[in-house]
Symmetry: C2
Subunit: 333 residues, 2 copies
């Protein structure tokens, strides 16, 4: 049974993921990427994943058969488990909690060999619709405090399968990183009576030094204090703390800027490993005035090493103003 | 000129390291590890590093010549620069600071092919003496608020040279990660009137479930909320917030437990990449009653991916109680 455990000093939670339990030997032997030629996310292999939760598919096809264009399934080796309850308990001086939560995989396309950066806008839009639908449904479970949608692309970014997919993990507590963003943006709001993200957009659009891409509803920027070369954030122009409030027309424009931004990263850095994370407000109603949902994309080209682990600082060898130039120079076909 | 930049939302600083400036192309081409056969840290190549700051060497040898057994030099591509001042300034709504600081390399031995885990106790002790000496000297610069000593072992842990070495980065601000530990341990102290680390040691010694190694002055444990398989902390039994206060006899016992613990990790995981970070109090005098210096060792066997970046949570597939068993089973030769 998976278990949440809390560090008693800095209050960081970890998940002891028993479904993925590993012995030292598992790390020592070279990793076998995939059984040669076999992919559980390809057409015809639907029975090798847990049964689908939702799928976008023609009305005349049966669940867990081919024909779908986006498919959402529980993670076979979920880090958390929806059948538990979020029971909290002490372990001596320490704090722990049963590993309740949702861990799902969004299979973005039946095409094994493509990538969000290369798909057509319509397909990316379908993926965003799947995100939104699962997000809305899970947020109705009041035991869940936070839903995190993220993507690992490339094995150096933690992807264990090549087939294009994103993931969703929903947990019964507000993660540390989210709490920090909420506190920081609340502090800014109480000082300025403005949303810090709205101010960033205003300033960046004026300066035009760190804007990678822009459309009617979104901007993608290199953040001023970027941690990584070509780190890029996509921020909606309209103030909104909660991804669920995205408008239908914004789903379309978000898909466009997401694909274009990923294409520029793909082009400038030759298909680098990357992670992206959707940052949105928790299920507690916090953040309405002062928080602002957005997507953070981090190419994984530099190693996180001792200095970063010990300080929480990052060393970035590429000024974001330079990164902007490299990314802007890539033309969208 | 390197520059510190602060994220306006979560107040995380980054260093834009212009001495290490990279273009996209630098990431795309496969990394050349070292010029074949040439190592700037080997005997005879002393002139290829910046001049040594200190070296432990026979009295009849000249600086920057062979004969030394531990040698400390400025990092040739320092992320920060001691010739600057910590001038703070605004950039529109953002905050930045000139990249003042010290970045040094502690060359742990002239022997290119060894490793702290394999050295004899005496040599490890000499390395700790070098840490202490540089730490004490730099803490006398009142512009410095924090000195971080760390080690990257193996290229997956961010090491760019194989020759055994540690690093020291000293900066004019208290890093986020350290501030979190100070706040957390202060909060515990104000509730319990005890040091949280002292309490952890007491409980762990009683339970004997997560103790890897113990001597008169130190314990090494798997933390209850370990982020990584075989993450291990070495904690002094005597309450002390500041590494500078280590006693002469503790330098010896610290060297012993460090070598033994690294040897166990080396043995259990077949010489894995790892980072270690010395956690100690800042140069502001904070933490005397409630903080407790220690060393955190993190083997780098799992990938930090989207979930970790987005949440600040970690998923650990090896319960620390299991890791303890694996590590205890390794015998020190």
């Amino acid at each position: 049974m998976p278990e949440f455990r809390k560090d008693p000093v800095i209050k960081r939670w970890v998940i002891i993921a028993t479904e993925r339990a590993k012995r030292p030997h598992d790390f020592v032997k070279p990793k076998v990427e995939e059984k040669a030629g076999f992919c559980p996310f390809d057409y015809g292999n639907e029975h090798t994943t847990p049964p689908e939760i939702i799928a976008f598919r023609p009305a005349d096809t049966a669940p867990n058969t081919p024909g779908w264009w986006v498919r959402v399934v529980p993670n076979k080796f979920g880090a958390v488990n929806p059948d538990l309850t979020p029971r909290k308990y002490g372990v001596g001086m320490f704090d722990a909690m049963d590993g309740f939560g949702y861990h799902e995989v969004i299979i973005e396309t039946p095409d094994h060999n493509t990538h969000l950066a290369l798909m057509d806008y319509k397909q990316v839009e379908e993926v965003i619709w799947a995100y939104k639908q699962r997000f809305e449904t899970i947020m109705k479970d009041s035991k869940i405090q936070y839903v995190l949608i993220f993507k690992n692309h490339g094995s150096d970014a933690g992807a264990s399968l090549q087939h294009p997919h994103s993931q969703l993990i929903a947990i019964p507590t507000i993660p540390k990183r989210v709490q920090e963003e909420l506190s920081g943006s609340q502090e800014y709001f109480s000082y300025k009576e403005r949303c810090v993200f709205c101010d960033i957009i205003d300033q960046e659009l004026q300066l035009q030094e760190r804007i990678v891409e822009e459309n009617e509803d979104f901007v993608s920027i290199e953040p001023f204090a970027a941690r990584f070369p070509c780190e890029t954030w996509i921020i909606p122009k309209r103030h909104s703390h909660d991804f669920r409030n995205i408008l239908d027309k914004e789903v379309k424009s978000f898909s466009q800027i997401l694909k274009n931004t990923l294409y520029k990263i793909y082009g400038a850095l030759d298909n680098p490993p990357y992670n992206f994370m959707l940052h949105t407000a928790p299920n507690t109603g916090e953040g309405k005035n002062y928080y602002h949902w957005h997507l953070e994309i981090v190419p994984r080209l530099t190693k996180v090493a001792g200095f970063e682990w010990g300080s929480g600082f990052y060393i970035n060898p590429m000024p974001p103003e330079e990164a902007t130039k490299y990314l802007r120079a890539v033309e969208i076909p």
